[in-house]
């Protein structure tokens, strides 16, 4: 069989790109849902989805680092809860309320202004707490030789417990939040939601780190063959440790976004969210055995889940859409993952066929 025919064709080469396949699937999904409900495919709604999915993307980026080195982290929501709770308590304790007058529509109106610790400091604190949790997970896994699932299962219990302990059973509500924090994920900068901006920043920084630095490439080295990586002088334990720390840091940050979005911090915040994060990575083409995965794929995978979530609401299947969303989400994600496997298999077959000269 003549196989040279593939080489000169630009299109064939493009189609071999897995990310492109995923983009097509995503566009098809948007088109199909848009056919059923035209309100879905409007720029406004798509931007809303992007904002809604930002938290998931930030977390999936961190999870990708962890999966790349062949580890896994199911304590993500607990890290989010603990970080947001710590920052929330600091914010609550430093809250100052002042009655002032604000200009609304040309008339002075009485208003209460709530100020507290500056927002950047709070974000830094949450990210720090998150990074510490990630570091702890990494220590257990890399140096304590505890299997990742067991270690992070244990730390999930522990961190949720800790966030309950430090809060004394009290959730943080809107009344305990400073205006800056409440407005944090609602404000628009340059036409974009601040969640989107933070997500973009995280995405660009991680893309530069993973694709263009020596340290970033080591994630792949450790994940594809830990023994070979060790023999070639890479400190595999330090790499695993740093992957978990990055995950923790991003989870801390995402916890703040989640809290500001929801306007509350509870002790069981985001429980079960780790499933969407892992599913986003798997749909995005990250292998759970480590060493395989691209950062653009992960972002697309998370967006696919975001579109599915939002689309299930917008589809307006019979009557109560929230009901259907809850009911068939699992099936939809399962189908997405399995479709992904078939695309991957077809792709591998084609590569093999082309090699047989």
């Amino acid at each position: 069989m003549s196989t040279r025919q593939f080489k000169p064709l630009r299109l064939g080469r493009l189609l071999r790109n897995r990310e492109l396949g995923l983009t097509l699937v995503l566009l098809a999904l948007i088109g199909l849902i848009g056919l059923r409900n035209p309100a879905f495919a409007t720029p406004g709604n798509l931007q809303f989805i992007l904002g809604d999915t930002s938290i998931l993307i930030v977390l999936a980026l961190g999870m990708m680092c962890v999966l790349l080195v062949g580890s896994i982290d199911i304590s993500v929501p607990a890290v989010m809860a603990l970080s947001a709770m710590t920052a929330g308590i600091v914010m609550k304790n430093n809250l100052v309320q002042a009655d002032t007058q604000v200009l609304v529509d040309g008339a002075l109106t009485a208003a209460t202004v709530k100020t507290s610790t500056p927002l950047p400091l709070l974000l830094l604190l949450a990210a720090g707490v998150g990074a510490a949790c990630g570091l702890l997970n990494g220590l257990l896994i890399a140096y304590g030789r505890v299997l990742p699932i067991v270690a992070t299962l244990g730390s999930q219990y522990i961190l949720y417990g800790l966030s309950h302990l430090i809060s004394g059973g009290q959730a943080i509500y809107r009344k305990d939040m400073s205006d800056a924090f409440i407005q944090f994920t609602r404000g628009n900068v340059l036409g974009f939601n601040s969640k989107v901006l933070i997500m973009l920043a995280a995405f660009l920084v991680l893309m530069a780190f993973i694709n263009y630095t020596r340290y970033g490439r080591r994630l792949y080295a450790v994940g594809s063959n830990a023994e070979a990586a060790r023999m070639s002088g890479i400190n595999t334990r330090a790499v695993t440790l740093s992957a978990h720390t990055i995950m923790g840091l991003l989870a801390g940050l995402a916890g703040m976004l989640y809290a500001s979005h929801d306007n509350k911090v509870t002790q069981d915040m985001a429980m079960g969210y780790e499933m969407y994060v892992i599913a986003a990575c798997v749909i995005g083409g990250v292998s759970v055995t480590g060493g395989v995965g691209k950062i653009t794929g992960v972002a697309l995978g998370a967006l696919t889940i975001g579109v599915i979530n939002n689309g299930l609401t917008m589809l307006r299947l019979t009557g109560n859409s929230e009901f259907w969303k809850k009911a068939i989400q699992g099936a939809v994600i399962l189908i997405a993952i399995i479709t992904n496997v078939y695309i991957k298999r077809a792709h591998e077959r084609r590569v093999l066929r082309e090699r047989r000269l």
Binding site: G144, R145, L147, I149, L153, S155, Y157, L165, I338
Partner: protein, 340 residues
């Protein structure tokens, strides 16, 4: 089994001893704190709450863990099976109760089989990912069936005698549920540790490729393990429902993690090839003693989970650290000999 020190004979190095010591420590510690409320008979009574349903789920989970796989959908399977039972019985207006129970067990078996089929069909996806999505799927189906309603009004012998009844045995009131679990254990033990088909699980879990080349039908073994796991999950759901008296689609949320914790505490490893029934039983007893004591002292579910998490990590971490120390010492000794 991870060796704690190199000198002890293999029999004494088993994880079970560590667990047994922890059980005694926990008991005497809480007994000293609350001598009136924390006593053996009361603890025995509480096994109904902390031991039986999770215990059955852990028995199934152990099979999957021995294979080096994991199943996160067990609690969802239990919820779906219990839902099927509740809806088909319909408070006495539907099927007869025995048929509803049979249907429930079949549902569990089907859920497990579906997991198993996906696992052997899509080897590039890990069981963790597959069962993560079937978890939402099964709970989703339960939600479609029941919506926000609950199904109940079960026969009195089921909701009352089985759920809360106990038999006088040697001067102690032993919950009937516990007796059911204890009755299953010997058969389970004999099958897993003493028959060829049980040992094959360990073989496949230790080295899947080698087992396949030596003629084991590894796919069939995996399928059987997942199916049995589903069945055990349904049995767990059966006892859970008899304790709660009614079914909602949220029943048993988070139990999968408890089942994994019990199996891992008992000596199973998520990388496969390890696990023991005696260890599992001791881990169940330990958790029952610990949870009951913490509930008495703090009455707080979060503190309870926090201690379970700590215990899980410590019981796995401590032998590992000793092992690392022993390895380092051995390497140093070898280097010294080479230097001579």
């Amino acid at each position: 089994m991870a060796s704690v020190t190199g000198k002890l004979p293999a029999f004494l190095r088993r994880r079970e001893w560590l667990l047994a010591i922890l059980v005694l420590l926990t008991y005497f510690l809480f007994n000293a704190q609350r001598p009136d409320n924390y006593t053996f008979p009361k603890l025995l009574n509480q096994t109904r709450v902390y031991m039986v349903d999770v215990g059955f789920m852990a028995l199934g989970m152990l099979l999957v863990l021995i294979l080096g796989d994991i199943d996160i959908s067990v609690a969802a399977t239990a919820a779906l099976s219990a839902t099927v039972m509740g809806v088909s019985y319909r408070g006495g207006e539907g099927l007869p109760f025995w048929a509803a129970v049979l249907l429930m067990l079949l549902t569990g078996l089907a859920c497990g089989l579906f997991n198993g089929l996906l696992v052997i069909r899509f080897k590039e996806l890990f069981p963790m990912i597959i069962t993560l999505s079937t978890l939402t799927l099964y709970r989703g189906i339960a939600y479609i069936i029941l919506k926000d309603q609950s199904a109940g009004s079960f026969p009195a012998w089921y909701a009352k005698d089985l759920g809360y009844g106990s038999l006088p045995l040697m001067g102690l009131e032993v919950p009937i549920m516990l007796l059911c679990l204890l009755a299953v254990l010997p058969f389970y033990y004999l099958w897993l540790h003493r028959t060829a088909s049980g040992r094959r699980l360990f073989a496949a879990g230790t080295n899947l490729t080698a087992s396949r080349y030596s003629g084991l039908h590894t796919d069939r073994i995996k399928l059987t393990a997942f199916a049995m796991n589903g069945l055990f999950a349904a049995i767990g759901g059966f006892f859970l429902t008899s304790r709660t008296g009614s079914v909602k689609y949220t029943i048993g949320t988070g139990f999968e993690m408890q089942a994994i914790a019990v199996a891992v505490l008992g000596g199973a490893s998520t990388s496969g090839g390890r696990g023991s029934v005696a260890g599992l039983l001791l881990a169940l007893v330990l958790l029952t003693a610990l949870k009951n004591g913490l509930m008495l002292l703090y009455n707080d579910a979060f503190i309870l989970n926090l201690s379970v998490g700590l215990l899980l990590i410590l019981v796995v971490l401590i032998p590992n650290l000793f092992q690392a120390l022993a390895d380092r010492r051995r390497i140093l000794r070898q280097r010294m000999q080479l230097a001579k």
